[in-house]
Symmetry: C2
Subunit: 194 residues, 2 copies
């Protein structure tokens, strides 16, 4: 039944959701998902196009030919919005986490203190860069009139990103400090209890 590949239900949610905010091409869809949802969601071409094809076949999105370009704008149908609401109402499946930085720090004894420090510093730098991006997103949400209705909800996710990034920065500073003291108390012979 599926032409070549079946996209997962989760992809359908992301695609329908994005189109519910603004109709767009498959190409733009991927860019939006990367740039806007990028901090907590990702989809690749290989998922998006099959998903669009399936959704169209099921009558959940419709293809609007554009006069000028050869490209097609996809928009959700009424059924598509209904389906989106169903999908959103399903309990989110907790995705199994895979944090490469934490894995490396966990075995930091083998990796070495210096490399651990580098990892932590890089993590902090990334978090600081994210904080800037979130600030930007906040401003865009405030100004863009098309997003007026969705903005209060999108802001929740931006806020989560900010909290997470600030936590990462605070953790990194703690971690760097604790690595320094650990090093200075481990190497000497001193082994005082406090």
């Amino acid at each position: 039944m599926a032409a070549t590949q079946r996209a997962a239900a989760q992809t359908h949610t992301a695609v329908l959701g994005a189109l519910s905010i603004a109709p767009m091409t498959g190409y733009a869809l991927r860019e939006q998902i990367r740039d806007t949802l990028g901090h907590f969601w990702s989809e690749s071409f290989g998922q998006i196009y099959p998903a669009l094809a399936e959704l169209e076949q099921q009558g959940l999105v419709e293809r609007r030919e554009t006069g000028t370009r050869r490209s097609a704008i996809f928009a959700p149908t009424a059924d598509g919005i209904t389906r989106l609401r169903e999908l959103l109402a399903e309990p989110p499946r907790p995705s199994s986490p895979r944090n490469g930085v934490m894995l490396r720090l966990f075995f930091g004894r083998q990796l070495g203190v210096d490399a651990c420090r580098d990892l932590i510093t890089q993590t902090r730098d990334r978090a600081e860069a994210q904080l800037v991006e979130f600030e930007l997103a906040r401003r865009e949400l405030a100004t863009d009139d098309d997003l007026r209705a969705d903005a209060p909800f999108i802001l929740l996710t931006v806020s989560a990103g900010e909290h997470g990034a600030r936590a990462a920065i605070a953790w990194a500073n703690d971690a760097l400090a604790s690595l320094s003291t650990a090093e200075s108390t481990t190497s000497p012979l001193s082994k005082e209890h406090t």
Copy 2:
């Protein structure tokens, strides 16, 4: 060459790393990864056993038969430790995030405010439960003498979990508050600018 299935390099890292802390059976390996690394890493049976087989074939772990039980204890060889250090030194590939809660909140306009509130509350509850687990892990790390050398590094990851969980709780409270005010300012006709 690979008998049935090739495990990913990341799995090799986790398996070798866990065995570097304490040799154990494949079964125990899975339990340790679930219980100890569970907050930021996951492996399933289908990954662990093939990985062990490959690592054994490459001479990176050795199988020690136990007298009493029919089970085998796996321990890393010297080459295995070398390989582990190589693997740990590789830059962590940023895994594409897939946060189902954030995806739902992002499209919260379609999901509805009440369901959003539920999601946020559940997230907060989970974070609070995690905080308790982290406190427990901290105590275990302090008491278990076998972990003395690894504990300073493992503590870094526990600390990261705590920072993250506290951030999640703070965010959830913010988010619930902002949903309440949004609801009361959206529904009435008033549309004052400040």
